[in-house]
């Protein structure tokens, strides 16, 4: 019996300068209606953590194009020219992270790890300023966990307890982001009585609020 809120109540959960993780991969699996509402609310100076910069008119790309993003942490920005422009003009900080490292950093943030060792990025500018740890004479980069104030997810099926499933490739970063923020809001394509307990992607304990896609 999780609380179902209206899209218009989103304003009670967002504020200027906050950090937000947004699920989705090239905007597939992004809670698009919530992105629209964020644009309408025009909260500013956001730190956005997302796989990519979306498109100018899709996904977190909308927030970027509307100059609401102070810092973007992502693995790819190539399909949103506005992101590249704001970055090169110094109007948006952009921290580019290998996609697997980003997923693992978010997981570490949710799983209480102090960091992890990965060979990804060794010998590249990704290792700049990071601690190199040698184990059995092999070098690794020590990558640190990432957490945020809020996660905005797009659930395909959410049950009344808050258990959430993400279908097909809409899943991507959604489940791991659910674990790594202080508050989690899921936009639900469909709300059902109960999801099969053997097949829950994100247990209800991670979900704080549900917004129905079609109200």
């Amino acid at each position: 019996m999780k609380e179902i809120i209206k899209l218009s109540e989103l304003k009670n959960h967002v504020f200027d300068g906050m950090s937000i993780m947004v699920g989705g991969f090239m905007a597939v699996g992004t809670p698009e209606k919530i992105m629209d509402e964020l644009v309408r609310l025009n909260v500013k100076d956001l730190t956005i953590i997302c796989n990519d910069a979306g498109f100018v008119d899709l996904g977190v790309g909308k927030l970027i194009a509307n100059s609401q993003v102070k810092t973007l942490i992502a693995s790819h920005i190539g399909l949103n020219p506005e992101a590249g422009r704001l970055m090169s003009e110094g109007l948006m900080e952009c921290i580019l992270v290998p996609q697997g490292t980003l997923a693992e950093q978010i997981r570490a943030g949710g799983a209480g790890l102090g960091g992890f060792l990965t060979p990804t990025g060794l010998g590249t500018i990704v290792e700049k300023g990071k601690k190199i740890v040698t184990v059995d004479s092999k070098d690794f980069i020590l990558e640190l966990p990432i957490r945020a104030d809020l996660a905005l997810l797009y659930g395909t099926t959410v049950d009344k307890y808050g258990n959430t499933n993400f279908t097909k490739t809409t899943r991507n970063f959604n489940p791991v982001m659910a674990t790594a923020t202080d508050k989690v809001i899921v936009l639900a394509r469909e709300i059902v009585e109960r999801i099969d307990p053997d097949n829950v992607d994100t247990p209800h304990v991670f979900i704080d609020y549900i917004i129905k896609e079609e109200e």
Binding site: V28, S75, G100, A103, G123, T170, N172
Partner: protein, 220 residues
């Protein structure tokens, strides 16, 4: 060969490197074409790092499903036996050495097996996406690329652009030949007889070790 024929030629040769049971990740662009030339007598599983194994052909009107996409964001299909998973498991698969072959394009690649593919400082900053993880984690890394870019070599003694990964590339396949990165340097294993060895050497910015190279053949 025109540009598309050249790309298909390269993709077709890359496909010959894949073996029965291989889990393969194909990068965006030219590498994606490899999917069109998969050997039919063996089972190859294609992974897409956004969260699936069992990448199928482009959808028809009948099986179009906008929830099934590849790492380029295009709508694709899932083959029988395929399945979906999240980004954490997807990169556990990639980084844990479970991908047998990854095929990627490049801006530059060098004789030490280092790759540059994700940034031209001041000009183009798309980001590395999953490329750094793939190149570091996959068992075999094949670079599929045209041999030169506007007449300038892409295969160098040492990359000048920021790296995607250091010393991780195993093989480079172009329209001119097949090269392997070994301990002692870059070997030309096969050459395309449409070019002379001298032409290939001149189009290459790296030192090629050439010992009885075979003719590049696309059909067995």
């Amino acid at each position: 060969m025109d540009r598309q024929e050249t790309k298909n030629f390269i993709a077709k040769r890359v496909a010959k490197e894949l073996s029965d049971g291989d889990l393969v990740n194909l990068g965006i662009g030219l590498p994606t074409l490899v999917g069109n030339f998969l050997p039919t007598d063996v089972k190859i599983d294609l992974q897409s790092e956004n969260g699936l194994i069992g990448l199928g052909p482009a959808p028809t009107e009948d099986n179009y499903d906008k929830d099934i996409t590849n790492a380029g964001g295009q709508v694709v299909t899932l083959v029988e036996g395929g399945m979906y998973f999240d980004s954490a498991l997807s990169f556990a698969i990639i980084r844990g050495g479970h991908v047998d072959v990854t095929v990627l394009g490049c801006l530059q690649v060098d004789e030490l097996g280092s790759l540059a593919s994700w940034i031209i400082p001041g000009k183009m900053v798309p980001g590395m996406g999953g490329a750094m993880d793939l190149v570091t984690g996959a068992k075999k890394v094949i670079i599929a690329t045209t041999h030169t870019n506007r007449g300038k070599p892409k295969i160098l003694k040492e990359c000048t652009l920021p790296l995607t990964a250091k010393n991780q590339v195993n093989m480079i396949i172009t329209e001119m030949g097949v090269m392997e990165v070994k301990e002692d340097g870059l070997h030309l294993l096969e050459y395309n007889p449409e070019y002379t060895i001298m032409e290939i050497v001149e189009a290459t910015g790296a030192t090629l070790i050439i010992k009885e190279p075979k003719v590049m053949e696309l059909e067995d």
